[in-house]
């Protein structure tokens, strides 16, 4: 199924989202809203140490507390055989996951679970936690990625040997893996260059900051059948991880998805569900578990802090001839940072002949890093888009022109291998350059920065069922939790194919027993991949309705054409039958009508984006104010433009927070000091200007409406765009995130001192 230009009636309009009323009235049910009779409350005891050996755990007093129905520790959790479960953009090693869910012999970060209880009330459960005695032998810890790579660093895992290095290491270390992407001849490349710039950058771990903390209810029945209600980015992933963790069969567990209050990649794994299942199994009653905000910060996976060296070489005419990067990423307590994506995509907006990019995945004493919107790419782009900006200044050329001169285009080869089809890099750059924002005047202490970004987007497995109701309305059944307005977008594509209004299609996200397997809502894949499945399923229903009409008219199906929500006889009397007329007679023409498709979608089109940002820097306090912000992004086709713009604005807002104030702050003992929204400073509404989102459309040839993913690319450029703007305003380069007021003031003073 490929792209064909056509006149569209529904796709590209802005109907009210189907889940809108429930969400604005508070009627929608999120993870924590579910209850069952007889339900117990589960709570987790977490390590107060960043790194310690567990000598002993005594749960006897907790067990003896009246009202406590079950207590578990690592020993009560099975250890899976191993293997990897794919979770959108991340791959989850099940043994690591098991040890992350509940520590066995060692705790590896402040917040690492060591025991859990289920009791008849939350307060008794909390009291029970206080009665559990854990004897810890505190070990030295390490959080900084470069420190963790040193040979004498405290070792997290004594069985971890660096993969993909020659010769094979003889000693274990914290470095899990080396990843490399390269081409051409580096020596030749840099020797041709007229200008070489090499810089070092650092970033801190940052959290997705979804509003809804993790929450679930698990009910394990005596016959071994279990049900979990929870909010996540994929009910099928939750099911598969739980059954893998607990040695169950897929048919033993039904996962019912709740509405999700934000995930951004962070809800493509499990923290509570397997614990709730084991507690429920032990207690023989349903168990509810919810995290507090503090637990979310201390125990769920943020994205990596990192250290990056970036080197770029260019000719006087602006041609970039070589780029070399070395990226060291925190993996957290277990291997698996998103450094691979950073390696592949940091330079991906550009066509550079000589490339050498090395990534390092490094274990440190923070929670296991997990996916966060375009995982890895913002870090890489921060470094590379900053050196591009320096290069533009060295060469005295417009930073957009420099980017355009080196931009990828159809036919160029991506750093990670494949040859690009049509993609919108040049279109974005030119739209950015022609935007009134780019020409607007700046005042004193104000500056403008530009940065581009690339994200690959993924396809994957999706299924959809189109049920034609007897009155001609449609039930659209799908399996991807709706985070960004996908119910509306999918219903619109279904309506477009049928030729009816979007409001006549009622989309539902159903449980793991009601539809075939779906990959997670992640990787910016749902509008693309599930959209494709929806179009196929709708076409299946249309085919059936044409056949039924043919039967009703007693003619050949080939003589029936589908248009505007009705079957039309192409010759003869020119008769027509609406969906309702066909469906109301379905019982007599062969039974009820239902279209279905289950696919593995390939050909997701990459997204390119260019952001520009104006800042004002208060030279006396170091405070940076974002004055104006514009994103330009190739969406392929904006099915529902409001939600495409919302994604672009949301990604930019998160990137702005990451740039300005967000960071994990640890004390000397490695404990997280800012486990709450007061001191983990995400932006509030009044911190941001209206973000202008311009959506370009270079259709993706592999989608019937030309859709590309849009959700992730917009978080890629802001870090560098803001750093570049601060430079423009002050002449000072910020290379260490975040650009919080104390750091900016210190950098300004340092620059003054250097001037003398």
């Amino acid at each position: 199924m490929t792209y064909e230009p056509k006149t569209l009636k529904v796709v590209g309009t802005r109907p009210i989202r189907h889940d809108g009323a429930d969400k604005v009235t508070g009627r929608a049910n999120y993870g924590a809203d579910f209850k069952l009779p007889g339900m117990l409350w589960g709570k987790v005891l977490r390590s107060p140490h960043a790194h310690a050996r567990i000598r002993a755990i005594d749960v006897s007093k907790a067990k003896a507390l009246p009202g406590v129905k079950a207590v578990i520790t690592g020993g009560d959790m099975p250890m899976p055989d191993g293997g990897v479960t794919q979770a959108g953009e991340s791959a989850i090693n099940t043994q690591h996951l098991a040890k992350n869910l509940m520590a066995r012999d060692k705790v590896l970060y402040d917040g690492h679970p060591v025991a859990a209880v289920a009791a008849i009330s939350e307060s008794i459960a909390r009291e029970a936690l206080d009665l559990i005695e854990v004897d810890y032998e505190i070990l030295p810890h390490v959080i900084d990625v470069e420190e963790a790579m040193k040979p004498d660093a405290p070792l997290l895992h004594d069985d971890l040997f660096t993969q993909n290095v020659e010769p094979k290491p003889e000693k274990p270390s914290n470095v899990a893996q080396r990843i490399f992407v390269g081409k051409g001849d580096m020596e030749k490349g840099f020797s041709e260059a007229d200008i070489v710039i090499e810089r070092h950058f650092t970033t801190k771990p940052v959290h997705q900051g979804y509003i809804e903390p993790q929450a679930c209810v698990a009910n394990f029945a005596e016959d071994g059948q279990a049900v979990v209600w929870c909010s996540s980015q994929g009910q099928f992933l939750i099911r598969d991880l739980c059954v893998n963790m607990l040695g169950m069969e897929a048919s033993d567990l039904k996962v019912i998805p709740a509405e999700i209050g934000g995930g951004f990649g962070g809800k493509t794994t499990v923290y509570l569900e397997p614990l709730a299942l084991v507690l429920s199994h032990k207690a023989g009653r349903p168990v509810k578990m919810t995290m507090s905000r503090g637990e979310v910060f201390r125990s769920t996976g943020p994205t990596s802090g990192c250290a990056i060296r970036a080197k770029i070489g260019a000719l006087r005419d602006g041609t970039i001839v070589a780029a070399e990067m070395d990226l060291k990423f925190q993996a957290g307590a277990f291997p698996g940072s998103p450094v691979g994506a950073a390696v592949m995509f940091a330079t991906a907006p550009y066509d550079i002949p000589n490339l050498s990019i090395t990534g390092w995945d490094v274990c440190v004493n923070v929670p296991k890093i997990h996916a966060y919107r375009a995982p890895g790419a913002p870090n890489g782009a921060f470094a590379f888009e900053s050196v591009i900006d320096e290069l533009a200044r060295e060469l005295n050329v417009d930073p957009i022109d420099l980017r355009a001169k080196n931009s990828v285009a159809e036919g160029s080869k991506a750093p990670y291998g494949p040859t690009h089809g049509p993609l919108g890099g040049l279109e974005c750059l030119s739209a950015a350059k022609n935007h009134p924002h780019y020409k607007a005047n700046l005042g004193p202490n104000q500056g403008r920065g530009v940065a581009s970004g690339f994200w690959i987007n993924i396809g994957g497995q999706s299924a959809a069922t189109v049920v034609v109701n007897r009155d001609g309305t449609i039930a659209l059944v799908e399996g991807c939790p709706d985070i960004g307005g996908t119910r509306a977008s999918l219903a619109m594509m279904c309506a477009e194919v049928l030729g009816i209004e979007a409001e006549k299609v009622r989309p539902s996200v159903v449980d793991t027993t009601a539809i075939a397997f779906n990959d997670v809502t992640g990787g910016s894949r749902v509008t693309f991949a599930t959209g494709k499945a929806v179009v196929e399923a709708t076409e299946d229903a249309v085919r059936q309705m044409r056949e039924r009409a043919a039967k009703m008219w007693d003619i050949e199906p080939d003589s029936v054409l589908w248009r505007d929500g009705a079957a039309h006889e192409t010759g003869g009397e020119g008769r027509s039958l609406t969906i309702a007329q066909i469906a109301s007679k379905a019982a007599k023409t062969g039974g009820q009508i239902m279209g279905h498709a289950s696919i593995n979608a390939a050909g997701a089109g990459p997204s390119l984006t260019t952001h520009m940002c104006d800042v004002e820097v208060d030279r006396e306090t170091g405070r940076v104010t974002i004055l104006r912000y514009t994103t330009v992004q190739d969406a392929g086709k904006a099915v529902h433009p409001s939600y495409v713009e919302g994604q672009m604005q949301g990604g930019a807002a998160q990137g702005i927070g990451w740039a300005l104030n967000e960071e994990y702050i640890h004390d000397e003992q490695g404990r997280l000091l800012n486990a709450g929204f007061l001191d983990y400073r995400m932006p509030v509404a009044s911190d941001l200007p209206m973000i202008d989102a311009v959506s370009g459309e270079v259709p993706n040839p592999n989608h019937p409406f030309g859709v590309r993913g849009v959700g992730e690319a917009p978080i890629v450029p802001p870090l560098a765009a803001i750093s570049n703007a601060i430079y423009d305003a002050t002449g000072v380069r910020m290379r260490d995130l975040p650009f919080s007021p104390p750091r900016v003031l210190a950098a300004l003073e340092e620059a003054e001192r250097a001037k003398g």
Partner: protein, 285 residues
């Protein structure tokens, strides 16, 4: 836990004395948050929001009397008060958000004794006094005498603040309060400065008082302010001396919200800027 909501000051004082481990609650925007985040359990809560006297603002010949439980929205919405004390009003208006403003009180802000409380430096600059009632009767103290350290006050057992008294304003007098937060709202001051000035007819500073917040265990009175500012028109060198004095008076800590060095510098910048705003406001009267 016992909860009482007496209708008079006398009943409240009696309840505080009678109930073991009782605490005053006004808006509860500090107290309830502390309870939820695992602070030691309280014996009892005595809610003072039902006491009319503590929830009203009165203007007399001596100045303003502001009930200790008056909420931020009430204070910033009071035109005469906001005209007389724009700095105190803007400090109260900075607390939290619209929702918080509907509950949070001056009494709670001062008695919670956070070094970063926003209204305390502004009240100090205003030479505000607190009327305290307790088992031993009534007493009146300067606002800067209430907090003695983070979370600690000089209030005795069973005592509470019932109102704040702000002096009457002469002509050409105004105040201002500024704080530094990394965001634009919903944050805690990294440093704060309140400045109150009175000018003579020629625009020369005749009286000045400066309070500093978040740079010491309690809000500070900047003693040298009067010396530095009186007799001047806030010329650049005067402002530089004010900033330097504010930085020198500060004894801040290094924490997740700011470094010692940063707080010292920024409190000076804020004092300077607040002085300029107060000067401009006073000049317009």
């Amino acid at each position: 836990m016992e909860y009482q909501s007496p209708a008079s000051i006398d009943e409240a004082v009696a309840a505080l004395a009678a109930l073991e481990g009782a605490r005053v609650m006004a808006g509860g925007t500090d107290l309830l948050v502390q309870l939820r985040s695992g602070a030691p359990r309280l014996g009892a809560i005595v809610d003072v929001k039902k006491i009319a006297e503590m929830c009203s603002i009165e203007e007399t010949a001596e100045g303003f009397s502001v009930g200790a439980a008056v909420c931020g929205a009430q204070l910033t919405g009071h035109d005469a008060f906001s005209r007389a004390w724009p700095g105190v009003a803007e400090a109260a208006g900075l607390i939290g958000s619209t929702q918080i403003q509907g509950r949070a009180s001056l009494g709670g802000n001062v008695c919670n004794a956070s070094p970063a409380a926003d209204t305390t430096p502004a009240l100090i600059a205003a030479r505000a006094k607190a009327e305290i009632v307790g088992p031993g009767g009534r007493r009146i103290v300067e606002v800067e005498k209430i907090a003695t350290g983070p979370g600690k006050t000089s209030l005795g057992k069973g005592e509470m603040v019932v109102r704040f008294l702000l002096p009457a304003r002469p002509a050409r007098a105004a105040d201002a309060y500024l704080r530094m937060i990394p965001r634009t709202e919903m944050d805690i001051a990294v440093a704060g400065a309140g400045v109150s000035l009175t000018l003579d007819r020629g625009g020369v500073v005749a009286d000045a008082r400066v309070g500093l917040g978040a740079v010491a265990p309690t809000a500070l009175v900047l003693d040298q302010a009067a010396d530095i500012l009186t007799g001047t028109k806030l010329e650049d060198d005067v402002l530089a001396r004010l900033a330097a004095a504010a930085g020198a008076a500060a004894t801040p800590i290094d924490d997740k919200r700011g470094t010692i060095d940063y707080r010292r510098k920024v409190v000076g910048v804020l004092a300077k800027r607040a002085a300029l705003i107060a000067y401009q406001r006073a000049g317009e009267r």
